[in-house]
């Protein structure tokens, strides 16, 4: 009983506050930095009937890392007028090639623009002319 009481007394007699650890705070700004998309590469364009298969090599971010998405555009090689590729190459293509079908007759050139979410890299140079009969 006496031993029990002694332990109890010691436990009560040293409150946590006696072993003081102080808490400090500070407020300010941490920092992080975003990458930048590199430019698109010159694509190839292979014609098969009214289908054109466009292929390209991956673009990179500054500071490393390859880009997953690409936006493809088709230009009239005579007038220079451009439009988004369609029918298999529309929107953001998550690949390194796509095939646009039902391409109108004419002389066409394609370009590739790297894309990540809403980010866009610089549009690459035009492909060689693809002649669709």
């Amino acid at each position: 009983m006496r031993r029990f009481l002694l332990v109890a007394v010691v436990a009560v007699g040293f409150p946590a506050g006696a072993a003081a650890t102080w808490s400090l705070t500070g407020s300010g700004a941490a920092a992080a930095k975003a990458k930048t998309l590199g430019p698109g590469n010159v694509p190839s364009a292979a014609v098969s009937g009214r289908r054109v298969t466009v292929g390209w090599t991956a673009s990179s971010y500054t500071n490393g890392g390859t880009v997953a998405g690409y936006v493809i555009r088709r230009y009239n090689a005579v007038t220079g007028a451009g439009q988004g590729a369609a029918n298999g190459c529309s929107g953001t293509v998550i690949a390194l090639d796509c095939t646009e079908s039902n391409v109108p007759s004419g002389n066409w050139q394609y370009t590739v623009t790297p894309a990540a979410g809403n980010w866009r890299g610089a549009e690459g140079a035009k492909s060689a002319v693809a002649v669709v009969p």
Binding site: M1, R2, L5, L6, A8, V9, V10, V12, G13, F14, P15, G17, A18, A20, T21, W22, S23, L24, T25, G26, S27, G28, A29, A30, A31, A32, K33, A34, K35, T36, L37, Y61, T62, N63, G65, A116, G117, N118, W119, R120
Partner: protein, 161 residues
């Protein structure tokens, strides 16, 4: 009126306990009041300073990815500290150096960091790296490419003598 009967032994034990308790409180108060030894300055501990860490960042953040955050901390006190957490400030927003379009849609989210053990010596300044503490969604505006993001944070530390 309530009367509690105590044995002599129990009475003495309780009296001794109260005495030690008072002593403990006195010791604790002395430790924080700073009368006479190294603990004196701790009683008036200064807040940590948070400096500009933008120059130490590397371009790692992109839509759909995560990256490290840099935070520069100065300990103005005469005792070492251990940083235990870095949390996003509850009110302020994350901004960039790219202007309103990016600021309106940074897509950047900071994940509060807890359970840290980042030690900082007395009077020292150090830039710490919080790996994977920030992520970016596909909502990030195109103008955010190459941006340096300012992330308002609250840093918490404990004395680490």
């Amino acid at each position: 009126m309530i009367t509690i009967k105590l044995s002599r032994k129990l009475f003495l034990a309780l009296a001794a306990s109260v005495g030690l308790l008072v002593t403990g409180v006195v010791v604790a108060a002395w430790s924080t009041s700073g009368s006479g030894n190294g603990y004196a300055k701790a009683a008036s501990a200064s807040s940590l300073g948070i400096g500009n860490a933008s120059a130490s960042t590397s371009a790692d953040l992109y839509p759909g990815g995560a990256s490290a955050v840099k935070v520069s901390v100065t300990n103005p006190n005469s005792f070492p500290v251990r940083i235990t957490s870095v949390a996003k400030h509850a009110v302020s927003s994350i901004t960039s150096d790219k202007g309103p379009a990016c600021n309106a849609a940074t897509g950047v989210t900071f994940t509060d960091q807890t359970g840290l053990t980042l030690d900082l010596a007395a009077g020292a300044t150090s830039t710490f790296t919080l790996s994977g503490a920030v992520s970016m969604s596909n909502a990030s505006d195109d103008s955010c490419q190459g941006a340096v993001f300012t992330i308002p944070v609250d840093v918490t530390a404990i004395s680490n003598a």
